[in-house]
Structure formats: structure tokens, C-alpha cells
Subunit: 342 residues, 2 copies
């Protein structure tokens, strides 16, 4: 096993440890009329029961399946950049569980969380993609609700430069404890804790939990415009950006095609987005931005390069159906001159 | 229920009834070196045990899942043209079985075969796609081996203008009986029996079974260049085309980018292929050619139009990953002037 000294003086063998919901996406295109008919709030992620998932599935067109899950997508992206990354998430030993585990390992992510003991199936997310590329998600959490503190390995958290948590983990009840345990270990070890706010409605659901967690434990915050505005209950992005500056060491705020804003202490840096030939499916855009950013961050790159690596990874993933990169992101980054070795 | 008088004077309510293996494809890109390392014969379909499938899967890159199966792909294509079509095939009541059933119904295919009784899982096919777009397939037949004569409904076969069988069905032992039963019912009802030769190695495996079946029962034969040459054990395509003229009423012989040759009695008609912007994945090319051709055929179109509809559907499916159409084929056919109503 190779150990590398990270920039915080800690012996780290993992760049990023992701903890999140382990989900298989079921993805179909549809028109806006179907969203209205099914009462789905466009761009939102909503939690659904197994029965509701079945009912929605009946109305869905022909689909394809692809491994997903927010933090898992980020880990997959870091793997595709060549970073060292591990993931913790709970699956059932069913067909979806086996494809999720396969896809993560095949892209270079270390993954060893045991399958759950019972028959609760692996989580699935019904993703409706409209012609504008926007995705509307309906998640049945299944086995994910079983994630608990027993799944968090102290050694693994200690050995990770960054422990990355998805805000969606505030939904399954026991996961929040796991979340706190991981953050406390990481903080005590002098490692970094990163959090993605995940979804504006997720922020609404859990604002009272998010605030103390962010202030006490989070070093790096990822959010899009809607999420950061929801967190600080303001309609003004600049106000939200100024507020977050006081609460975390580093925040990367994405604004879709307008690019991203990186806020670090008194410094604010804008990174442009990267143009895509055709926007096909925004699923995973934020997750892959975080992948590029954290890959750069754990390699000691400048904030400019981190933001650009985020934009690069996001632009790849929105150019096709599915939330996992199809291209070798390390090659793309070399070609565009963001990292050496082209 | 609406009944339409077909051109053979039979009251038909289904254009095409497909009978085939019900398979979920697990698709990943790879380079040629991996095929060599795994001893996979490029472009071939080989049958594998569950254990071999697991072993190959370990060597496979991150994948996506999409419903497949040769005759099922053809039915899906006919559904995407707006034709009336049904499918018979055996699944397990597992996650793959449920996505296969969903995808077929969602694209407009009538499908009612009950799930198998036991625990044998739904079939899966590991599809390796190389940079040239060629696909190499490894199929674990699973629940498909349970297809038997009890799954063939006499009423359904009688009500179908064309009963379409995939040659791959000669692999699972009991399916051959089902095959014969369906063909005999269709023949007796004055309906048409169509067969796809599926794969040159499938022809090699079953040539002695194929010959009497084709001569006695088949009206319409689909084959690519390699398959028809394998059937007649000749290296010369023209020789094979002349032989097939004597054995079946109608043959549609595909030649990849060179287009197809339709042979009907003394008449031979060449249909060009349709250009694709980028060849991504040839999986399903032959299945979708058959879909376009049979859709035209059952609508009473000329052989030229049938061949062009086949080329249109094949060009759509090879332009993306997966063997099912992503576009509305009826719209594409109207836009290109092949059918009315644009």
C-alpha cells in the first residue's frame, strides 16, 4: 500500500472518501407534459415509496439503467481523473446492487461496504429527462436507509485527505449519525470535510440540521445557486455568497452555464463553464463538478485550476445520458492543458 | 379490439409476433486488446455459463444496462414505427426481468409471457463495444432456457400477419419445439413465418436444424452476408443469394454499410444503407433492419420502401449505445418521406 504525505502533513492514502446513497438510475426521456401529468416538480429530487416508484415507472418511457448516487458519481469522476478514491454506501445483493458495485470498482473506486443483510432492495432513482436536458428525479431509498455508524471505518476516514458527504444523506435517518461520526474523525485527524448541499428542497427539509453541521464540521461546501440561496433564505446570490464566506473555509458555488464562483476567505474567484456541443442530460453535473474540483484540490492545484477541472468534468457528463463519465477525464484534462502529461 | 384484414385475407390484429430470448444487455466500451486478453472472438455472440459471465464481468469496464434480445429488439423497433406487435419470451421476476418487461411495454409492444416459476435469473448479455463500433456478445441464457411450447398461444400466432423467430432460439433446447409449434400454426393459418439467422456461429451450431426448418416453414429470411454464406457453406455471397432464392419466398440480406439485397422469386433489389454521422455501436443493427423491413411489409409497402425502412431503423440504432431505438422511428420515416404524414 502506498502512502503519500498530504499538504496538511497527514499520511494519506486516499484523496477523497465519499459517503452517500448507493443508487441505480433508471433514465428515460420525456416531454414536459408528462411531468405535469405526474405532478413532478421539474429539476427536483423527491423521495418516493416503493409503491410510488412502481406507479411512476408505469408511466415512464423505455429506459436505460446506469449507476448513480450523488457522492458515488463524484467518486467515479475522481476515479476517471486517476485520483485515489473510496466510497461507502449500502446495497442489497441483488442485480442492481451488483451492477452498482461493479461500475464503481471498474472506474477505479475502492468499495467494500458489505451488502445489507435483509431483502430491502438496492435503491433506484427514476430520472425523467426533458428535451431541455433538465432532469427530474424520484428516489426510492431502499437499502440506503440502512447506512449507519457501523459502516464508517475510522482508519479509512483518517487516511483520506477529504471526506465528502452528500446532503441527501440527511434523508435516511441513521445516516446522519454516520455523517457526524465521519466528520468528527476527519476533523480530529486534521483532514478536510466536504459537503454537497445536493438539492434546494433537500436544504428546505434539513436546514435546521445543516446549519450547525456546516459551522462545526465542514471545510469545503459545494452548492448550486438555488441551494445556497435556500440555505441562507435569500433571493440574492451575492448575499448568500457573502454569508457562506463566514461559515466555511472554502465554497464552490456552481451557476450552470454561467460557470462557478470559488469563495475562499476574502478571495472570490470566478471560473467559466465549458461549452458543450449539445446539452443532453444535466444529471450528475454538480457531482462531476465536485469531482473535478476535489481532484484538483487534493493534487494541490490552484483554485482556478480546481474550478476549471470541475467545469471540464461537468461538461463531459451533461453531454450524454447518465451521471457517470464516459470519457477518461485524465486524458481530457491533459488535452485541455489543465494538468500535465499531454 | 380492432381487427384489420391483412393482405393474405386473414383477420389479423397483430402485425408482427416476435418470439425470442428475453435478455438485458450490459454494455461497456473496451479496446481490442481486452478482447484478445479475454479470448473473445470479435463480432461473435457466444453462450456462457453464469460463472463465466461473472468472470468476464470482472474484466469489463463501467457499463450501462439496456433491454436487448434479438427478436425483442425487432419488436421494439416495430413499436417505435407505430406497428402492432407482440413478444413472447421468458423472464424471471427479478430486477432485470422487470426492466425488460417495462421497456418492451413502454415502447408499445404487447407482452404477457408469465415470469418463470423458479429462481433462474433473467438472461444477461455482456456486450463489449470496440472503438470501431463492433460489438462482441457473451450471453448467459438464464430463464430463457425455460421457453417451451406452453408459452405459444395458438390464438396469438393465428392473429399475427408475421410470426418472427430468432435463430438464437435454436440454442435453448425446449425453444426449438416452441419454434416448430408456432411455425406450424402460422403456416396453417396462411400467415407468414420469418426467421433471422442471428449469427454466423449460431448457423454453424445449428445448420442441420436450420435447413429443414427453413425449407418447410420459413417464408421470409433475414441474414447478413456472413450468416447466409455460412448457411450455404460458400465463400461467395452471390452464390448464397441464388441458393436462398430457391428456398424461401423472400429474403432480405444485409451487407452492413453496403446496404441490403432483397431477393423475391426471380427479382433482386438492392437498397442502400443510410449514412450515420458516427458509428457508435452496431448492437441491434440487424434486428432493427428487420424491424423496419417487417413494418413496411406488414403495411403493404414495396420491397424498395421495406429495404429503406430497414436501413433507416438500422442507422438510428448504430448511432448510439444500445440495441433499442431512442428516436420515434415513425417520425424519422415521415421526415425522410418513406411513409406518409410528414
Amino acid at each position: 500500500m502506498s502512502f503519500r504525505l498530504n499538504k496538511w502533513g497527514v499520511m494519506a492514502e486516499i484523496d477523497v472518501l465519499g459517503i452517500g446513497n448507493a443508487i441505480v438510475d433508471i433514465i428515460a426521456t420525456c416531454d414536459d407534459a408528462l411531468l405535469n401529468e405526474l405532478n413532478l416538480r421539474k429539476g427536483n429530487m423527491q423521495l418516493v415509496s416503493s409503491e410510488d416508484a412502481d406507479r411512476l415507472y408505469e408511466s415512464m418511457g423505455p429506459a436505460v439503467e446506469s449507476s448513480g448516487g450523488s457522492a458515488a458519481n463524484t467518486c467515479a469522476g475522481i476515479g476517471a481523473f486517476g485520483g485515489k478514491t473510496s466510497f461507502i454506501g449500502v446495497l442489497n445483493d441483488d442485480q442492481f446492487g451488483r451492477i452498482f458495485a461493479h461500475d464503481l470498482k471498474a472506474i477505479g473506486v475502492d468499495f467494500n461496504t458489505p451488502f445489507n443483510a435483509g431483502t430491502t432492495p438496492t435503491a433506484r432513482c427514476l430520472v425523467f429527462v426533458t428535451p431541455d436536458g433538465e432532469r427530474t428525479m424520484n428516489t426510492y431509498l431502499g437499502a440506503c436507509v440502512e447506512l449507519g455508524i457501523e459502516d464508517i471505518s475510522e482508519d479509512q476516514v483518517k487516511s483520506a485527505k477529504v471526506t465528502y458527504l452528500e446532503g441527501y444523506l440527511f434523508d435516511p435517518p441513521r445516516a446522519k449519525e454516520a455523517f457526524y461520526k465521519a466528520a468528527e474523525i476527519a476533523n480530529a485527524a486534521g483532514n478536510k470535510v466536504a459537503l454537497s448541499l445536493s438539492d434546494a428542497f433537500c436544504v428546505e427539509r434539513h436546514r435546521d440540521d445543516f446549519f450547525p453541521f456546516i459551522k462545526q464540521h465542514v471545510d469545503i461546501l459545494f452548492a448550486n445557486e438555488e441551494e445556497i440561496k435556500a440555505l441562507y433564505q435569500t433571493e440574492d446570490f451575492a448575499t448568500a455568497a457573502d454569508r457562506v464566506r463566514r461559515d466555511v473555509e472554502l465554497a464552490a458555488l456552481t451557476q450552470g452555464p454561467k460557470g462557478s464562483m470559488v469563495v475562499e476567505g476574502a478571495v472570490t474567484m470566478a471560473a467559466p463553464s465549458m461549452p458543450v456541443e449539445k446539452l443532453v442530460d444535466t444529471t450528475g453535473a454538480g457531482d462531476l463538478y465536485a469531482a473535478g474540483f476535489l481532484y484538483g484540490y487534493t493534487q494541490g492545484k490552484s483554485m482556478e485550476i480546481c474550478g476549471s477541472l470541475g467545469a471540464l468534468a461537468a461538461s463531459e457528463v451533461i453531454s450524454h445520458i447518465g451521471a457517470r463519465p464516459k470519457e477518461n477525464l485524465a486524458d481530457l484534462a491533459k488535452k485541455s492543458g489543465l494538468i500535465g502529461g499531454a
